[in-house]
Symmetry: C2
């Protein structure tokens, strides 16, 4: 039996591949491993049965025999440790690829999520117009630093790795913000990730779920 992950029955991003199951689907596709998906709507996601899998009541989770995991970063790392294709064999390069996973999630993603949350939930507040430039500036700081690091390279550190996989999914959250266009090196980097056949297969799989839900 392949591992089972959980995903939104009807993703709030309307199939744009920005929910966090996308990372895990992409990882499975990169290493050529099959997986099953259990779909959840909002209420079951917050119910005790799912909280036992994920204490914070979110998706994705990962179940394989008697192992249950949560957190997309941890699941991607677990897949990458068990199957070739996402981590370099050299020990130092492997450690650096994992460092980029943490950088994507701890350093680059938080200001991007904060900007996204404000755009979703604070648009009608009196402070929105004044605060927005500050939030965009925090994101620009990270994008500028990342752009200087990449500057012409294809990937973050040598060959494509789990670090790139997570970083590209983090940066894709900015797809509709216009901010990526200000950093051509980063826009090209994200496009390189999106052009990978494994990304396309994962993207199509999550889009098919959203389309099925919206037709039912």
């Amino acid at each position: 039996m392949p591992p089972t992950i959980t995903a939104f029955e009807s993703s709030p991003d309307r199939g744009r591949g920005q929910a966090r199951d996308m990372r895990v689907r992409w990882a499975f596709e990169e290493v050529g491993q099959p997986y099953d998906v259990r779909l959840l709507s909002f209420a079951p996601m917050k119910a005790p049965a799912h909280r036992a899998r994920h204490p914070f009541g979110q998706i994705p989770t990962y179940e394989d025999g008697d192992l249950t995991l949560f957190e997309s970063g941890a699941i991607v790392l677990h897949i990458a440790e068990r199957h070739a294709g996402l981590l370099p064999k050299d020990a130092n390069a492997r450690a650096r690829a994992i460092a980029w996973m943490f950088a994507a999630l701890s350093t680059v993603e938080p200001p991007i999520v904060e900007l996204g949350m404000a755009m979703l939930f604070e648009r009608d507040r009196s402070w929105y117009a004044e605060r927005l430039p500050m939030l965009e500036e925090r994101v620009r700081t990270r994008l500028g630093e990342l752009s200087r690091h990449i500057s012409g390279a294809d990937w973050l550190d040598g060959a494509f790795s789990a670090g790139d996989l997570v970083m590209v999914t983090v940066l894709r959250r900015l797809n509709t913000s216009g901010l990526l266009d200000e950093y051509p090196d980063i826009a090209a980097y994200v496009a390189r990730g999106e052009a990978r056949p494994a990304f396309r297969r994962a993207f199509d799989a999550q889009l098919a779920v959203f389309k099925a839900a919206s037709q039912s």
Copy 2:
């Protein structure tokens, strides 16, 4: 030669152990390994020599022979993988401990940092009083979920692990907010972490650095 990490020459937290080198110092102490520290003031931290170690110009970094790492989570994981004491031997328990590291950094820390940033940088803004309860509520959501998970257990998943180490350092950022007092299970959990001899040694070491800087 022991590994060398970087830390603030004069930490903005005034020696309260909330800078991210604390996690790495604590990890070294838990596994009983020596380490050297190179102190950095703000300007060198943002200069090219340090950017080559840390593309985002932050502390801590980790150097050991020809390996350079950044991101406190990645450094803690690297130490935990190489020395006994921070990850269970059982493969499934090990994967779950790593999942808790990611949960601490990706799910629990962001709303705590967001609250902290607002308290530091938006206190004089017109919206501060209205926005603060919203930010506190986001933190409370995570603390409530974490509290339900812990509920009487000593640690997040069996024995103390790198997941607990990172989670306790994340929660300690709330020390002066009053929010931890609302969740006695979590306050007790943080206190258990802080009572570990390895934590005390790491705390004293970073405090000594701050005291030396403030006396010079």
